[in-house]
């Protein structure tokens, strides 16, 4: 008996809008497609918008000129407003310019979106089974490490070595995710804790690998691996731009995961386990196996995402190659509402934000870290539709199902 049982059959939050409670009850049988699409886009769009507004405030009030102008507000109020608007305008237009302002910018955005989409799928897929995969970072590290190793040590023809790199990277990620899945399935160890630990372990393994002769060019102490062989690099398809075939891998993965989730028996089982493991078990599904497999597949996706980086844009393996991409992936999955196409859109958005932030820092000296704040706020608003409703006084439709993970207390 849980507290959830008592809330069955009620509107998501009846206390919020007493008047709205009545209207949400009288739902039409099936609203038209465009109506549902519009409703399901409301929260993400408002979330991104709100995050950008808060980001703008942050930009304004850490700028010395703006602060100075505000300090003299009563002497020259227009100047304060004008300085604030200019600062934000300059920052955001540089951001936009760096994201989509030129073919080179778009190429860079796509390049940055590739691993985010793949790792975002990794988090989203696990969410479908109510598993919270915080371990995308570690899985990406393992993927990048093994793919790079294949990329500089296997001396076989081009397409084969690329394939080998991608497969090895995917498998490495799958093993890393699978460990968490198997531990969850057999001992009940919570995946949040195990994946956090596995993230650290992967980071140290990479740091260690970058001290060994297998990874380093002979005679250097720098933790930068041997360069990936030219035939092992992902081919670029627009001359002069850095974007490579990785983006098509990401698109393919989106379609594949959509198919698995929506059209395959296994996807149905994954979702069943996520919605109610007890019912799934009662229906004869092997919950433990499905849990372990889900984490392994998630890990494989993140591993593939990690693999695309060394054999794509960077061409070498470094200790910081993944950075915090695996955590950005969590934001991508949340913003995409765990829907593969949503993840695609969110990944493209975050790729563009990350690419644009670099241009913004170069042109306006505003630190790129502002993007992390914006991402945090996006997660927050997406995760709390009630908050968005409260701020904007809008209804967001019944399609709004809050996202839940399996916390410590449950199965």
């Amino acid at each position: 008996m849980t507290v959830d049982d008592t809330s069955d059959g009620r509107a998501p939050d009846p206390g919020e809008h007493p008047d709205a409670g009545g209207t949400t009850q009288q739902e039409s049988p099936t609203p038209p497609f465009w109506r549902r699409a519009f409703d399901s886009l409301k929260v993400p769009v408002l979330a991104v918008f709100s995050a950008l507004v808060v980001g703008a405030l942050l930009i304004m009030f850490t700028d010395e000129d703006v602060l100075y102008a505000w300090a003299r507000f009563f002497n020259d109020p227009l100047r304060a407003l004008e300085r604030s608007a200019t600062t934000v305008w300059e920052a955001y237009s540089a951001l936009l310019d760096g994201a989509v302002g030129s073919p080179a910018a778009i190429s860079e955005s796509l390049l940055r979106a590739t691993p985010l989409i793949l790792a975002g799928l990794a988090v989203a897929f696990a969410f479908k089974a109510a598993l919270f995969n915080i371990g995308a970072n570690g899985q990406m590290i393992m993927g990048a490490m093994f793919a790079a190793w294949a990329g500089f040590s296997l001396d076989i023809p081009g397409p084969l070595v690329i394939l080998a790199s991608l497969v090895v990277g995917t498998l490495a990620g799958a093993v890393w995710g699978g460990i968490a899945g198997v531990l969850k399935a057999t001992t009940g160890a919570h995946e949040v804790i195990t994946t956090i630990m596995l993230n650290f372990i992967a980071g140290f393994l990479l740091a260690y690998a970058l001290t060994t002769d297998a990874f380093l060019p002979s005679g250097t102490g720098n933790p930068v691996s041997k360069p990936i062989l030219d035939q092992a690099r992902l081919p670029r398809f627009i001359s002069g731009e850095r974007v490579d075939l990785g983006i098509f891998l990401a698109l393919g993965a989106v379609l594949l995961i959509w198919w698995v989730l929506e059209r395959s028996t296994f996807g149905f089982q994954v979702k069943a386990v996520g919605l109610n493991p007890h019912a799934a078990r009662y229906a004869g599904m092997k919950v433990a196996t499905i849990t372990a497999l889900t984490m392994a597949i998630a890990g494989g996706l993140a591993g593939l995402g990690g693999a695309t980086i060394p054999i794509g844009p960077t061409g070498t393996l470094t200790a910081g190659i993944i950075g915090f991409l695996g955590f950005d992936a969590i934001a991508v999955a949340l913003l995409g509402k765990s829907n593969p196409f949503g993840v695609l859109a969110a990944g493209l958005l975050f790729g563009a934000l990350n690419a644009g932030a670099v241009t913004m820092q170069a042109e306006t000296q505003i630190p790129v870290d502002i993007v992390i704040v914006i991402q945090a706020l996006i997660i927050l608003f997406v995760a709390a539709p009630a908050l968005v409703r409260a701020i904007y006084r809008v209804r967001t439709g019944d399609a709004e199902s809050p996202l839940f993970t399996s916390s410590w207390g449950s199965g």
Partner: protein, 437 residues
């Protein structure tokens, strides 16, 4: 769904079908058999540990070699033991414990596990310090210091989770308060102001966490993730935009060590336990205090009832939501204290991402310590020990790569979470939003 957290699948299945007494008896028998298997498995692990200790650290070590431990930094108090013989004795005790455990399960095997770990570590130190002098007192002092933020962070987790709110935002709260503490201490020139502002910062983020997860019923893990993101982003952003151009705002300095009268004069023990900074003493006070409050006071009973069965608590008139708010904010203050330790108790300034995962380790420490402040202290000491061991071993020059030593606590946590998982039971309603009627 609420009670069998992580104890595998069988008990859960039997609970959901078990309605008649016969079912209950078979369920009890199954649980007993499971406990017996677990005890035997633990015995086997001990046995292997003992054998490994002897094999790795005693075999092949010349019997004439001895290890010397420095027991004091001020006087020349030392302890010298023959290396190989000592390892044989320590390993032998572990093997004996393992055999006993397999033959007939010993009680208090949790404590015995800790003992086994301590014995194995002692054997390892004896081996690592063979043929040279090793500052035991220095290492123990750094163990206590490094354990402090972990224990305080775990305390934050205990306070939140006992009331039924999962807190994976300890990392973010610590980072945010580390920033505020360094900034406030530098701006005001007073470390105490820095500490207070740090505690306030932790409380502020905790208030946000409570608002999201208790009032808006956002999934608590997602709310925690958002807070971690926010703290990482905002501190990195402010550090880059404000602190780099104004370095005078990031020179907090640290609290001095302060030797307690009488206690600090005890040889060896006094040196590493009672010659520390204010944070360590605060931890000494807070851990027993919170333990007493949680398990002996009316307030603690209310907090725990809200975490175990909020509906029942509500029925007897306890305000579930308010209790959760209070506990989460108190927890945030503890996290804030832990975070302010980093600049004010150890480093002397704020550095980007200076928590470096300590908040997550604190989370593991909390689970390791079974949602109990005293257990958390033990686990924190273990992690602190592993960290300080690593820095000392770099000096001793063991053949083990430092990455593996740094990795060790995380691997141990992984095993512990997996191994003790079935026995570490979180509060029953942990992680579930409460709907008031």
């Amino acid at each position: 769904m609420t009670d069998t957290s992580s104890s595998g699948t069988q008990p859960e299945a039997s609970v959901s079908t078990g309605t008649k007494s016969t079912d209950k008896q078979t369920a009890d028998a199954a649980v007993a058999a499971e406990a017996r298997r677990r005890a035997t498995r633990r015995g086997i692990i001990w046995l292997f540990t003992g054998v490994a200790v002897i094999w790795l650290f005693a075999i092949g070590v010349d019997t004439s070699i001895s290890s010397t431990f420095d027991l004091s930094t001020t006087t020349d108090l030392t302890l010298t033991v023959p290396s190989a013989a000592t390892v044989w004795v320590l390993g032998g005790v572990i093997v004996a414990l393992g055999v006993l455990q397999i033959v007939r399960p010993l009680g208090a095997s949790g404590y015995l596990s800790v003992l086994v770990v301590i014995l194995a570590v002692m054997a390892f130190l004896t081996w690592a310090g063979r043929d040279q002098a090793f500052s035991l007192v220095g290492m123990l002092q750094s163990t206590v210091t490094r354990a402090t933020p972990l224990a305080l962070g775990a305390l934050a987790g205990v306070l939140c989770e006992r009331s039924g709110v999962v807190n994976i935002a300890i990392e973010g709260m610590m980072l945010f308060s580390a920033f505020l503490a360094a900034f406030a201490a530098s701006a005001s020139g007073s470390l105490w102001v820095g500490m207070a502002v740090g505690v306030f910062g932790g409380a502020a983020l905790a208030w946000g966490h409570a608002g999201l997860s208790v009032t808006y019923k956002v999934d608590q893990i997602i709310s925690g993730t958002a807070i971690n993101f926010f703290a990482t982003g905002i501190t990195a952003y402010l550090a880059a935009s404000v602190l780099t151009s104004n370095p005078q705002l990031n020179r907090s300095g640290t609290f001095d060590n302060w030797s307690l009268p009488l206690l600090g004069d005890i040889p060896f023990i006094g040196e590493f336990l009672f010659d520390n900074n204010i944070y360590v003493y605060t931890m000494y006070v807070l851990l027993p205090l919170v333990t007493w409050m949680l398990f002996r006071s009316r307030w603690g009973l209310r907090v725990r009832s809200v975490g175990e069965h909020p509906r029942a608590a509500d029925t007897v008139g306890i305000n579930v939501l308010r209790t959760r708010y209070h506990s989460v904010i108190l927890g945030g203050m503890a996290a804030g204290l832990a975070g302010s330790f980093l600049p004010l108790g150890s480093v002397g300034s704020f550095q980007e991402d200076m928590t470096a995962g300590r908040g997550f380790i604190a989370l593991a420490v909390m689970i390791f310590g079974r949602w109990n402040p005293v257990g958390a202290l033990g686990a924190a000491l273990l992690f602190g020990f592993a960290e300080s061991l690593n820095s000392k071993l770099a000096i001793l020059g063991t053949p083990i790569p430092s990455e593996f030593l740094l990795m060790a606590p995380y691997v141990v946590t992984l095993f512990v979470v997996a191994g003790f998982g079935g026995r570490a039971r979180p509060p029953a309603a942990d992680g579930q939003p409460y709907e008031t009627n």
